[in-house]
């Protein structure tokens, strides 16, 4: 029998791994050439990629940025690269760049949407990133009014009067607090706000408008277009659909039969109807149902429909997050004496929303892409614009450049949302570090 006793005299120091295991060589060995079959597949795939790039590259390389029509583009390419050469005609994007951004917004007022866009970034910063000073959130609250005023123009008094409605509601809530019932307070707040908006805001705004003539040149909704329109509809829809979705999800889980029935009915109805139908209703039918004389702005109608549509999906997404929380979290919140809204706001929602982040962002992205459907009701979003441009005799026949450009911008915007959701998930991960 062999001698099995062994005792190490000297401990071994760690040695660097061989070059074939680390760095790009190691990576390629592990991922691309780990077996003969994989090596062959790698080479074939490489060849395929090279072939595609080789054939597409000239199209980009021959691109023309300065021309006034597709025919001119083709002529320039033929002159430079010989008859039959293919090339992109990006001149159309260069020429219609402003239209892609602003639609038919008056040219001398382009500064207004531009400022609104940059203010939007400022307003978003404190919501998206926790290291931005919290005080900026006040600006985020004021921003929608400012943006409305900048984009549509008219008197500053109108958004101020609308904001005043919230202050009136808050005051009513305060006054009703003496009845010591949260239901009465909420009813008082909602009633106060609605009364202000429907009866008092108009006269007050007109009265003040005479005193404070802070007015911008008004711009009609039908002049809106391009990515400005997509962003206005998309961002507003996103901003309103999340809170509305949260309320619907809570309502669906409510013990109160009436609240529950309303929420379930709403969610199921909206989910059962295509968005295009809702948009067509917004465009053609809504005016029939509204009292005569009221003229509801078409973009506002579209925003309302998109928001309601997205909120129904959002509600189900969030309900999934709520259902995933252990019962113990609700019980612990109850046992500490937190009331329903405190428990939801401080304990349940932060966790349910965190669970739902990937799905919520999924909804946001799909909402943003759905804004292109407004082309159906003759609003000039980027897709609507492409159709309009292609109808122009100068650019008739151009396809890839226009749709590719729209796709690229949408991809950049949607992919940044996706990246942000990854960042947020990483930041909120507190369970296993």
């Amino acid at each position: 029998m062999a001698d099995i006793a062994f005792s190490r005299i000297e401990m071994l120091p760690p040695v660097a791994p061989p070059a074939s295991e680390v760095g790009w060589i190691g990576w390629a060995r592990a991922n691309l050439f780990s077996s003969w079959l994989n090596a062959i597949l790698t080479i074939l795939s490489g060849a395929a990629v090279a072939w595609v790039v080789f054939h597409i590259w000239p199209w980009f390389a021959h691109a023309v940025w300065n021309a006034n029509s597709l025919a001119e583009c083709r002529q320039i390419i033929a002159e430079r690269y010989g008859e039959g050469a293919s090339g992109a005609c990006f001149a159309v994007i260069r020429q219609r760049w402003h239209q892609f951004l602003f639609g038919f917004y008056p040219q001398h007022l382009y500064w207004r949407p531009t400022i609104a866009f940059f203010l939007m970034l400022v307003a978003l910063a404190p919501i998206l990133f926790s290291n931005v000073p919290r005080k900026l959130l006040w600006f985020s609250l004021v921003f929608p009014g400012v943006a409305y005023w900048l984009l549509w123009g008219g008197s500053l008094i109108l958004p101020v009067a609308i904001y005043a409605g919230f202050i009136v509601g808050w005051l009513c809530h305060r006054l009703a607090a003496r009845f010591n019932s949260s239901l009465i307070s909420v009813i008082a707040a909602v009633a106060g706000t609605l009364i202000w908006w429907s009866f008092l805001a108009g006269p007050v705004a007109r009265g003040l408008g005479g005193v404070l003539p802070l007015s911008l040149e008004p711009v009609a909704s039908k002049q809106f277009g391009g990515f400005m329109l997509s962003i206005v509809i998309g961002m507003t829809g996103i901003a309103f659909s999340l809170p509305l979705g949260v309320l619907l999800a809570l309502g669906r889980r409510s013990d109160m039969p009436l609240v529950k029935a309303i929420c379930v009915g709403f969610i199921e109805f909206i989910r059962g109807v295509p968005l295009i139908t809702l948009l067509l209703v917004a465009s053609f039918l809504l005016n029939i149902f509204l009292p005569p004389g009221t003229n509801f702005d078409i973009i506002v109608r579209v925003i309302i429909m998109v928001t309601l549509f997205s909120a129904a999906y959002m509600a189900e997404t969030i309900r999934g997050g709520l259902a995933a929380l252990p019962r113990g979290q609700y019980e612990a919140a109850d046992a500490l004496g937190l009331d329903y809204w405190q428990a939801m706001r401080l304990i349940i929602m932060p966790q349910a929303l965190k669970i739902s982040i990937p799905n919520i962002v999924n909804n946001f992205i799909s909402l943003f892409k759905d804004t292109t459907l407004v082309a159906i009701i003759a609003l000039l979003d980027p897709i609507g614009l492409v159709t309009a441009i292609r109808a122009d005799t100068a650019w008739n026949g151009i396809v890839w450049e226009l749709y590719g450009f729209v796709a690229l911008i949408f991809f950049i915007l949607c992919y940044s949302m996706s990246l942000y959701s990854k960042h947020l998930e990483r930041r909120l991960r507190t369970d296993h570090r």
Binding site: G328, A333, A335, L336, G337, Q351
Partner: protein, 268 residues
Amino acid sequence: MAEPHPVDVSELAPVHVEKLKVSDEPAIEIVDMNKWYGQFHVLRDINLTVYKGERIVVCGPSGSGKSTLIRCINRLEEHQKGRILVDGVELTSDLKNIDKVRSEVGMVFQHFNLFPHLTILENCTLAPIWVRKTPKKEAEETAMHFLRKVKIPEQAAKYPGQLSGGQQQRVAIARSLCMKPKIMLFDEPTSALDPEMIKEVLDTMIALAEEGMTMICVTHEMGFAQAVANRVIFMDQGQIVEQNEPKAFFHNPQNERTKLFLSQILGH
């Protein structure tokens, strides 16, 4: 149902029996209380008066209604018949009364139920800040005081997921204490813990008892019951079958069911 882990009395922290005093003022009064889950009669004719300073251990086989009983005391479960008065306030469907009772009654759960998205300190300050409207700074001082008391002040900035089970349960106790409750309910506080962590939680509970806290504890820790409790209640099939002082309860059980249960749980 977790396995019971009977801890030997001699392993626990010494109990200063002279500090354990029971007043004759009632803290909880339960009168003819009945509860049903659908058709199932979970709690039947429960009558129980708990005096201030009492340490009551409730034991019984799984499904005997002991957890449901203490969960009725802070209305995590609703009773359908009879009356429950906590510190003189009757539990009805009136939300104001329920919130008042809940803020006076602390509860510790089997699975800790800490809030995983908040730090240990935030877990402890949340309810005082939002329910009691305590200023943040004061709430944090109180929280640190109780975290020192349960011997984990150094973990205040961590998240619950980074702590061991025993530490989490002690945080849960500190979180309840931050509301300065008059009564503490423990729902199998050590059943989800590894044996070596049970002792640290039981020691914390002993310290609490010595300070005169009124406690009702559902547990299978018979060592703890013998050392700390002034009353042991045995429940079976939704009713109180036997109650007595610990010594008499363990050494001279009257009811056959109690005898069977004790022989199973004590393993002889």
